[in-house]
Symmetry: C2
Subunit: 243 residues, 2 copies
């Protein structure tokens, strides 16, 4: 639901009723997608539609000519899909559901309208783009400058943090929601290596695995290992509401 979007944004920036209504009215249609469905096809689709995740999980990915695939972003309920494609003629990456999902559709031109009528909405969206940016930076550092275990730890923590943003308190046990193959694509390793690193984390008593689910049993240790910062936690928007 848009509730999630509003909850996510509203928790951080108190929105006025009319601002909330404007965001609510962005979306025109809601559609359901099965798990594993490609919602946006990179290099092909025209990015004139944006989506708000109402439920489910998705990921953005890029295919290289070599056949390799990179998974650049995870989407959770409340996230807006397609903003990074917006200024281009063709989508720069594909987006695929990794669970059954519901998406709210709206045309990108509506965003301009919203910006014009509600300047604070522009500021909110801009802020979240900046947040996005900070998160991508973190991932860049993680992948470029840390070893496999650390990268895996960071990814697990990122998923955990996003999960926590939706359902608090965190029950500690949660779905990664990705195959080891996909995890590998997300942290720049092979599935084989992911599997081994997973074992390493388990043996190091940092996590416990319950089938497809995971439990973080040594949060400080994992944070230390993965050098992870939860950017959502650290948000500070006082400067912005001051006016």
């Amino acid at each position: 639901m848009v509730q999630d979007l509003l909850a996510k944004y509203g928790r951080l920036v108190p929105l006025r009723a009319d601002e909330e209504a404007t965001i609510r009215n962005l979306a025109t249609a809601k559609r359901t997608y099965a798990s594993g469905r490609e919602v946006i096809t990179g290099e092909l689709d025209e990015p004139d539609q944006l989506f708000i995740v109402a439920s489910g999980r998705l990921f953005a990915s890029v295919e290289l000519p070599s056949g390799a695939r990179a998974l650049t972003r995870l989407y959770f309920p409340g996230d807006i899909i397609g903003t990074a494609n917006m200024p281009f003629e063709r989508a720069t990456h594909s987006v695929t559901t990794s669970s059954d999902a519901e998406l709210l559709h709206f045309p990108r031109t509506k965003l301009v309208d919203a910006f014009t009528t509600m300047p604070r909405i522009a500021a909110v969206f801009y802020t979240f783009a900046a947040l996005e940016n900070a998160i991508l930076n973190d991932r860049l550092v993680s992948i470029g400058r840390t070893k496999g275990v650390a990268r895996l730890a960071a990814l697990i923590l990122e998923i955990c943090a996003r999960q926590r943003l939706l359902h608090r308190p965190p029950d500690g046990v949660f779905h990664l929601g990705l195959t080891q193959q996909q995890i590998g694509d997300a942290i720049g390793m092979t599935e084989v290596q992911v599997n081994r690193l997973m074992r390493e984390l388990t043996q190091g008593k940092l996590i416990v695995r319950h089938g497809r689910k995971i439990e973080v049993v040594d949060m400080p240790g994992l944070v230390e290992l993965g050098q992870f910062t939860d950017r959502y936690e650290a948000l500070d928007l006082d400067w912005f509401t001051e006016d």
Copy 2:
């Protein structure tokens, strides 16, 4: 000068005179920095100031506890520094000059003012944040899923493209403006390996080196190798000016 900012944005989105004036008035003070100077200190500085690069080059970097350093972004004249830090209490990364540079300062609150009075400015800034995002994605794919040579090729092309945006036509010969150490930090390798890859590119007749400068002699080959897309070239902002 703000000219560069306006040129960069204005080339892509025709700005009205009052919009141009608003951007021009963002900046209050201009300061000069020597090469190698740390302009923003990550984790320490309060990100209440933004900068527009008037001249010179800079880079954003993060230091890991291990001592490793990652270079996450390059800044050229016209770029705005500090936007990714904006929503946080402390800067998420450091910014350092890699040449003598002049920066225009302005408080981040001014941006909110500009957004409020000129909604289209908000849209322009938002669009550029999205562009940023796409570029970070590309880098993520490059570092996560391609080998050293390809990453180096991509970095060279990125610098070349940014250079071209300022001074066209590209004379083909340009400064990388980074030490091999810094290049390594940017593409997630050691200086030693960068040196070897540099030789590999030279021997493969993709580039020619003139002291500290570089000449791309086989652009298609380098683009193919580095899997590089110039996102600035591909920008499409018609949807945005329609209103």
